[in-house]
């Protein structure tokens, strides 16, 4: 009896199946994070004579104090926030509107629209940044010639405040399609019969979409929204690529670019590590807090 019970509830097998994942996660996610914490508590000490090899010393929280009082880090946070406040609502809002319209019975060319809007998902973010970046250049801009024709100065989207919209546009363009397809799949998964009685009661298609469909796919909206937010907080590749086309994006434009620059360009690994830990903490608190907030809003006291 004892043996057959242990055969039916294996103890070792699940750990063997999980071994590759645990080893990789420990070595490539956990260890690097711990290593970053260790680096962030250290500094470089040059011998008093000024000659000789610099050594690593424990400096406590000095790097954190420096990071938190660094105006460049704060500035990069604020720019990232401006970028996220544009890109996240527009990406999610448009994805949701398109998904609901695709699910609407009276829409024509739905298949063509769905496939077209999904196309940018197959385009790498840095290539999207290059494509839009070229189109933003006043000399190449597709609308530039119209402005010249009318005698107006050709606008430069990458200068002034519009640079935020210009960068956000790249990720909005790339992000709508995937989120739309996910939400549309959620909508298709709903039992279609529930709409019939609502329609018989004289419910309009717009009311149907907002009052019945939207609440039912809310879990999908929250999941895709959370991934969009996490993506926006971690933005790096697009502005980093656009930096090669314009001077208005600096090498510390968003927090991730600042960390990269400090670690590899200015070689201040210890300061970069402290900034990285601060950013990770902010990202985690923001994402988890938001998840909790959205869950409570969406499901009330159910969970």
């Amino acid at each position: 009896m004892q043996t057959s019970r242990s055969r039916l509830r294996p103890r070792v097998a699940p750990w063997l199946f999980l071994t590759p994942a645990i080893v990789l996660a420990a070595g490539l996610m956990f260890a690097p994070l711990v290593y970053t914490v260790i680096l962030s508590l250290q500094g470089r000490k040059v011998p008093a004579s000024g000659i000789g090899v610099a050594t690593e010393v424990f400096v406590g929280l000095d790097n954190y104090v420096a990071a938190l009082t660094n105006p460049a880090l704060l500035g990069s946070f604020l720019r990232m926030l401006a970028y996220a406040l544009l890109s996240v609502p527009l990406t999610m809002g448009l994805a949701l509107v398109f998904a609901l319209l695709l699910d609407n019975l009276s829409t024509r060319f739905a298949r063509f629209s769905r496939i077209s809007i999904f196309v940018p998902y197959a385009v790498p973010g840095v290539i999207a940044a290059l494509m839009w970046g070229f189109m933003y250049l006043p000399g190449v801009s597709p609308v530039g010639e119209l402005f010249t024709l009318w005698g107006w100065p050709v606008p430069d989207p990458l200068s002034g405040g519009s640079v935020f919209l210009a960068v956000a546009n790249v990720s909005i363009w790339g992000g709508i399609g995937f989120n739309m397809v996910i939400l549309y799949t959620s909508l298709r998964g709903l039992p279609q019969e529930i709409y019939d009685s609502a329609r018989l009661d004289g419910c309009s298609e717009i009311q149907l979409a907002l009052r019945i469909k939207l609440p039912l796919i809310l879990p999908g909206v929250i999941l895709t929204g959370l991934f969009t937010i996490i993506g926006a907080l971690q933005v790096f590749s697009e502005p980093n690529m656009m930096m090669t086309l314009t001077n208005s994006i600096t090498s510390d434009w968003v927090p991730m670019m600042l960390v990269y620059r400090d670690a590899f360009v200015t070689n201040d690994l210890y300061g970069a590590s402290a900034s990285a830990i601060v950013i990770t903490a902010v990202t985690m608190i923001a994402s988890l807090g938001l998840l909790r907030l959205l869950r409570n809003r969406a499901f009330g006291n159910e969970s």
Binding site: L18, L24, P32, S106, F109, F118, V123, L183, I217, L223
Partner: protein
């Protein structure tokens, strides 16, 4: 009776129009890329990029791109394929085993392990990639293909999806019957678990394939030799050489076009193999 099968629904103007505007927004840059790729060396800044040129610019750009740096473009394309295929095969295999282990067994510490594996989603890529680079340098593999493939092999989101899918499609009774008959756990996984998980694993593979194909950050940090670059890092290095080489913009533009067309076609073809209800949370077993 359902209304949508009963009588035809009258077409509506606004929903169709709004979606078509969305489609135009999505396709416009691709059209621009096609048009701009036909511009010869001097034409990019002097002629309208909305109207293609037929002055032989396209083929000139094409042959210039292919001969750029002794065929670097083809090498980068090969590397992109290697990273995407290799990385997503590894990630899918790791996720399949882990997802199966999490979904089909009850054991102490399961929730802790699951949280441990998932938390990686929240760590920003740059924050992770810098110490990964430093640690991999210490064991001497930074800059090699493995330094890119190994970090791609662990994908928290893939594990999450594999767990959901395994939980939904693998019948527990069948596994228990197998255990009573004396089959070992590996055999149960191979003959019952894995076959049932195939549609979900294809979706995970495709998601991971695109994620790696589109990734810039990890190879950008890990790799320093040009012959190991994938396309994304290759284009960045071209742009960074600056425009002192006059037609570098033309080469990057046609390179981007050649890089995205195969993937778009692949997607149109592979669409029906996607089980996106897996991602949207509306999975029905």
């Amino acid at each position: 009776m359902s209304l949508d099968t009963g009588r035809p629904v009258k077409p509506a103007f606004w929903p169709t129009a709004i979606l078509l505007v969305g489609a135009a927004y999505a396709l416009f840059p691709v059209y621009w890329l096609v048009s701009a790729s036909t511009k010869g060396a001097g034409e990019l800044f002097t002629t309208s990029t909305m109207v293609p040129s037929f002055t032989g610019g396209f083929f000139q750009n094409l042959s210039d791109l292919l001969s750029f740096n002794d065929g670097a473009f083809l090498v980068w394309s090969g590397n992109s394929i290697l990273f995407s295929v290799g990385g997503s095969v590894l990630a899918t295999a790791v996720a399949a085993a882990a997802g199966y282990g999490l979904a089909k067994f009850e054991f102490r510490g399961k929730q802790v392990v699951f949280t441990f594996l998932l938390i990686g989603v929240l760590i920003p890529g740059v924050v992770l990639a810098i110490p990964q680079y430093l640690l991999l340098s210490k064991i001497g593999i930074a800059g090699t293909y493995w330094s890119v493939l190994l970090p791609f092999a662990i994908s928290p989101f893939s594990i999450y999806l594999a767990r959901i899918y395994a939980g939904a499609v693998i019948p527990t009774e069948l596994l228990e019957a197998g255990r009573i008959d004396g089959a070992n756990e590996w055999r149960l996984f191979r003959s019952i678990g894995l076959p049932a998980m195939v549609p979900g694993l294809i979706t995970i593979f495709l998601l991971q394939f695109v994620a790696i194909w589109n990734n810039f950050l990890l190879p950008y940090i890990m790799l320093s030799r040009e012959e190991t670059f994938p396309l994304t890092v290759g284009f960045y290095s071209m742009m960074n050489q600056g425009s002192d080489q006059l037609n570098v913009y033309n080469l990057v533009i046609i390179g981007c076009l050649l890089a995205i067309i195969p993937l778009i076609l692949l997607f149109l073809f592979l669409q029906r193999y996607w089980r996106l209800d897996l991602v949207s949370g509306s999975l029905k077993g």
